[in-house]
């Protein structure tokens, strides 16, 4: 049988190899290294804080936040789950994973929300961004692990970068969707009273899109959690590493406990962020209200902290 390959063969793999090895790595490695700096800084802060925070304080704090945002049931679940994680001896790993996840989500939000706003405002930008998001969501994450290692090395931060690439699309998509779905007559009304574009964004579009944006944040968080084990392949620690080493040594017990830790963490974070999105009642809370409720929740956290004898 004749096939096209008999006539022309495309050495795509060689091309990519030489592009990455001979062009990107020698020329841009310092630039990529520099890109890690902000991520490293944020990660260090968060990681140090969570490892410093006594287990009981963290547990009480998170339980109170869950109680305030998601209700009694979730609070009770969080309490039991966190105690269980501590009892199976995975507290430190869980905190490492949590810092990693929060760092990833933080950067996803910092990149994704403005980008989402931009795509909502310009059809041309959307036209460019949408296929990139499609690729990011469909390409298997193993494919970009190798170039990431080559450019950024191994460790926590490259793991976080891989996580960001994987978890970024939903928050961009849903920010875009949320803003585009704000009722046309509300936009007209805001315009008719002489709003600037910035006022329109801040007073009308963002508050009304907040629910959708929070749904996007929730999705991003879940995707980030699902990358925990894969990130461990390139040197990220935490629960992912526990699973990965369990896998390597055929240690079913270790893999299972690590997996349970991830699942419990995922459930707690999912419930809390979901409830941030849809507050009771039909109407969307304003940005300020949500921030305030978050703030007062964390104040309760601080209160619990200071109330506890250290």
């Amino acid at each position: 049988m004749i096939s096209p390959a008999d006539f022309v063969q495309i050495p795509l793999d060689d091309w990519v190899n030489s592009f990455v090895r001979d062009f990107l790595v020698p020329n841009f490695r310092p630039a990529f290294r520099a890109m890690q700096v902000p991520i490293t800084k944020v990660l260090e802060q968060i990681d140090t804080f969570f490892h410093w925070l006594p287990m009981l304080v963290f547990t009480v704090g998170l339980t109170l936040i869950a109680d305030r945002t998601a209700g009694r049931g979730v609070a009770l679940f969080s309490l039991v789950a966190l105690i269980f994680i501590d009892m199976i001896g995975l507290w430190a790993e869980t905190m490492t994973t949590l810092s990693m996840i929060l760092t990833s989500v933080f950067f996803c939000a910092v990149i994704g929300i403005p980008l989402g706003i931009w795509t909502a405002r310009s059809d041309r930008v959307l036209l460019v961004v949408r296929p990139i998001l499609d690729i990011m969501q469909t390409i298997p994450s193993f494919v970009y692990l190798v170039p990431i290692v080559m450019l950024f090395g191994v460790g926590m931060v490259p793991g976080i970068i891989a996580t960001i690439i994987f978890a970024l699309p939903p928050i961009i998509r849903l920010t875009n969707l949320g803003i585009r779905n704000v009722r046309g007559d509300l936009i007209e009304a805001a315009e008719a009273f002489g709003s600037t574009r910035w006022q329109m964004l801040w007073e009308v579009q963002l508050p009304l899109a907040l629910r959708t944006i929070m749904a996007g944040l929730n999705q991003t968080l879940m995707l980030a959690l699902s990358m925990v084990v894969i990130a461990a392949l390139i040197g990220a620690g935490g629960l992912g590493l526990t699973v990965y080493t369990g896998l390597g040594r055929l240690n079913v017990g270790a893999a299972t406990t690590g997996g349970i830790g991830i699942v419990l963490l995922a459930i707690i974070l999912d419930r809390i962020t979901q409830s941030l999105g849809d507050k009771k009642g039909v109407q969307t809370p304003s940005l300020w209200q949500s921030l305030r409720s978050l703030f007062s929740a964390s104040k309760a956290d601080v209160g619990a902290q200071s109330g506890k004898p250290a």
Partner: protein, 421 residues
């Protein structure tokens, strides 16, 4: 009077090549032809008018007539393809974005059909939106918002969310939001279109009441001719993007410009359009204390061919005497004191009373007295004149004395024709 807003030759074409469509329009092509040939929609074509300060200008048209597009060109929400919209001396169609924003903040606001209240803000925050955008302090915003809410009777709901209010109340909030920045011009895009008929009536009355106090320049869009006739100092009938007729309610009802307008006007309640002043005739009167008043009254009635006549007491209405009773009393029984046979319980109305409020007064069969503010008689209305105006066949010259005794048959017919819904 200098017009507050002047619109000159405004066109709006939606499509790829508006200039081409504009040329085609000028070459005499119709809206439909242009759509078939180029796929472009002519929203508004060649609209020009002026609105004086404190006037209500109503644009009435069916859906698709371009009225909502037109009103949006006035505050630049939709930029016109060509033409000028002058507010004071600024041309909204061509001024800078900065200038337009200033005009929107200070001079012109809008009330929307579906209220367009911000669901995440409280009623007071909604009303204060325009003030916040202008950068006023929180305290002053709150104060002005409460004052605006007071005007529409919703101050008690200041801290509710719009979603908790009924449709009518929501539109009051919309109105208060439009009024809070104290604009000179208020655009109202079918503001009562989404409300129940009863609530709509209430809101119309309230708007008229508010307008008496506030005297804003209002451009009001509606698809309901009754609403247009009730509210408008001037009314424009719009069809296929152009004004078919512009005039006062009476002009439009009395002299429809074409069949299209005539078809609209056909089932209009004329009793609400026309007022007592439109059917009034000069009074024939006697002073009650005059010498020989009775004889004079009889003579006057004979001269003017009337059945009844008003008796004045020092220029104020004292009562009414009918020819029948007075002639029996004076000529047969020799009683010449008018007060003895005078009917004192007489219907009195003022110039602006709509005809449909005269039915009760007319039921006694006596002419109705029209008085000015100080109670002085300025004219009388013959009952027949009311009916002939309602039937629509009263031309200007017919409202005089000739119309006083139409045949009985015709009378019943016209009475039916004029009965309100």
């Amino acid at each position: 009077m200098k017009p507050k807003i002047r619109v000159e030759g405004v066109y709006k074409i939606f499509g790829e090549d508006p200039q081409g469509a504009l040329d085609a329009l000028n070459a005499g092509k119709s809206k439909i032809e242009i759509f078939e040939e180029t796929g472009q929609t002519v929203g508004v074509q060649d609209v020009s008018f002026e609105v004086g300060e404190g006037e209500i200008f109503v644009v009435m048209g069916l859906s698709g007539s371009g009225k909502s597009t037109l009103v949006r060109t006035f505050n630049g929400l939709i930029p016109p393809t060509s033409g000028k919209i002058l507010i004071d001396d600024d041309d909204v169609a061509s001024c800078s974005a900065e200038r337009l924003r200033k005009i929107r903040r200070e001079k012109i606001t809008m009330v929307f059909q579906h209220f367009a209240l911000f669901p995440h803000k409280t009623v007071a925050e909604n009303v204060a939106y325009g003030l916040k955008i202008k950068g006023e302090s929180a305290a002053s915003r709150r104060k002005k918002a409460l004052a605006a809410l007071e005007q529409v009777g919703l101050a008690a709901y200041a801290d509710s969310l719009p979603g908790e209010l009924s449709g009518g109340m929501q539109q009051r909030v919309g109105l208060a939001r439009g009024l809070a920045t104290d604009p000179q011009i208020l655009l109202m895009d079918e503001p009562f279109g989404a409300l129940d008929p009863l609530i709509r009536r209430e809101m119309q009355d309230e708007l008229l009441h508010l307008q008496k106090i506030l005297k804003k320049t209002i451009i009001f869009i509606t698809h309901d001719l009754n609403e247009a006739l009730l509210l408008g100092d001037k009314i424009a009938i719009m069809k296929d993007g152009r004004f078919v007729q512009v005039g006062t309610a009476q002009e439009i009802v009395d002299n429809p410009a074409d069949d299209y307008v005539a078809a609209f006007v056909a089932d209009i309640d004329r009793g609400r359009v026309f007022e007592a002043g439109h059917v009034v005739t000069d009074p024939v009167t006697v002073e009650q204390n005059e010498k020989g008043a009775a004889e004079k009254a009889l003579q006057l009635m004979e001269e003017h061919n009337r059945n009844a006549l008003y008796v004045l007491d020092n220029k104020k209405v004292a009562g009414l005497v009918t020819y029948q009773e007075l002639s029996v009393a004076a000529r047969e029984e020799g009683r010449t004191d008018l007060t003895e046979v005078m009917v004192t319980d007489v219907p009195v109305v003022d110039q602006d009373t709509p005809l449909n409020e005269l039915y009760g007064a007319a039921s006694a069969g006596h002419p109705i007295a029209v008085t000015d503010k100080r109670g002085r008689l300025t004219g009388v209305i013959e009952v027949e004149a009311v009916f002939s105006q309602l039937s629509g066949d009263a031309s200007e010259d017919e409202t005089g004395e000739e119309g006083s005794t139409p045949p009985a048959e015709e009378k019943t017919e016209t009475a039916q024709g004029g009965t309100p819904r």
